[in-house]
């Protein structure tokens, strides 16, 4: 059975190194993705259905390009992350607002689904490594897991708001503290793969709370920057960091060819 054997690495690593700029881009893309989709649905008047369909179609296109590339290409990778962030959020919103699914249920279900993805991934590949995403099957698991973390992070964050009345100020503090604990656990020798994925989940509600902190009116305890300026600021940071990564990558490839 060919499907059960581990395919030999056939691609170069397709995902970025986990650096400071990795986490900054990841956190900020959450905000940009969400405010972008919200802008299209409400301000531009597309409505939720059209916005969902367009975002899902864009994600399929971006994933197709990402899976087809031979090596990690920053702009394609991060475009895919932003779109996964939007669609993951929309899945949870559709369940909650559209179908009336309880946030307790969706949080539990996404957590179970994510665990199942990791179990199958580990069984088939013998590793959950996020540094050796070197064949298409691992890459597929990687992206499915990421989509699931965004849906789970959204549901868990919303649950904290609904059940605990956790606003964005305390949300940023709480999820920030949990991220700090995760970081500490990793520093003290905790499993790198587990701590990576925990951080990946936690940075979703953290990024949302951080975005709210900047966008919300001062009357609500925010900085009152508004969604357009916050998105523009975050998007600029993302574009600069991705451009730096892309230029660095192109430079290394050019050097290798010489």
């Amino acid at each position: 059975m060919n499907a059960l054997t581990t395919p030999a690495p056939s691609l170069l690593n397709k995902v970025p190194e986990v650096t400071l700029s990795f986490w900054i881009i990841k956190i900020m893309s959450t905000t940009v993705g969400e405010t972008g989709a919200d802008f299209l649905a409400v301000n531009a008047g597309w409505g939720q259905l059209a916005t969902r369909s367009v975002m899902a179609a864009l994600l399929v296109m971006a994933l197709f390009i990402q899976l087809r590339t031979r090596r990690y290409t920053p702009w394609i990778y991060w475009l895919t992350v932003v779109l996964v962030s939007v669609v993951g959020t929309q899945i949870t919103d559709l369940l909650t607002d559209g179908w009336g699914v309880s946030l307790y249920l969706s949080t539990g279900a996404f957590a179970a689904l994510l665990a199942a993805i990791f179990i199958v991934w580990h069984r088939l590949e013998g590793t959950l490594s996020i540094t050796d995403v070197v064949n298409r099957r691992r890459e597929s698991f990687y992206w499915v897991a990421i989509l699931c973390t965004f849906a789970l992070g959204t549901a868990a964050g919303d649950l904290a708001t609904e059940a605990l009345g956790l606003g964005f100020v305390w949300g940023a503090a709480t999820f920030g503290a949990l991220i700090a604990v995760t970081f500490g656990a990793w520093r003290l020798g905790g499993p790198p793969v587990l701590t990576f994925w925990l951080a990946y989940i936690l940075t979703r509600p953290f990024g949302a709370a951080l975005g709210d902190l900047l966008t919300q009116a001062k009357a609500y305890g925010g900085l009152g920057m508004g969604a357009p300026w916050t998105s523009a600021l975050f998007l600029s940071v993302i574009v600069v960091l991705v451009a730096v990564a892309q230029i660095g990558m192109n430079g290394r490839q050019a050097a290798r060819r010489v």
């Binding site: 409400v42 996020i130 990576f196 900047l214 919300q216």
Partner: protein
């Protein structure tokens, strides 16, 4: 150059950055929680009680003022103008979600559903005067219930 990847090392710096932003927001909220000035109410029609619409969600008067305005336009029979005016309510309500919802999620959902129904009535393919009037009247009633003005 394959360097062993430190998954979380950079996060401490990211966290520090976020914490700085957070601190700025935190001091902000402390000063504003007590006095939360409502967004300026404009276009509140004359003759409408302008007593502050304070509920568990806080001051809702800015949203209520738009709803009253929409209702007045509907009463004049101009559903097209009402449809464009209610978008102001949709946008304002949507952008304040993160600020309002944590204060009283259940109340937020009641009002959110009520606003949704008013939007649906005005945005129907063939909106009818009765539907729009009923939805707006329900919406104003919801505001009054939440603010204890029944």
């Amino acid at each position: 150059m394959a360097i062993p990847i430190p998954p979380l090392r950079p996060m401490i710096a990211a966290f520090a950055l976020a914490a700085a932003t957070f601190a700025a927001g935190c001091s902000n909220s402390e000063s504003s929680n007590t006095s939360a000035p409502p967004p300026a109410i404009d276009r509140a029609p004359a003759g409408v009680a302008t007593s502050p619409a304070v509920s568990k969600l806080g001051d809702l008067s800015a949203f209520r003022a738009i709803a009253i305005d929409v209702s007045a336009i509907v009463d004049k029979g101009d559903l097209g103008a009402a449809k464009s005016r209610i978008k102001d309510l949709e946008v304002a309500w949507d952008s304040a979600e993160a600020g309002l919802k944590p204060r009283a999620a259940a109340d937020w959902h009641v009002l959110d559903k009520s606003i949704d129904r008013a939007l649906q009535a005005l945005r129907a393919d063939k909106p009818t005067l009765e539907d729009c009037k009923a939805a707006l009247s329900d919406l104003l009633h919801t505001f009054d219930t939440l603010t204890g003005h029944t």
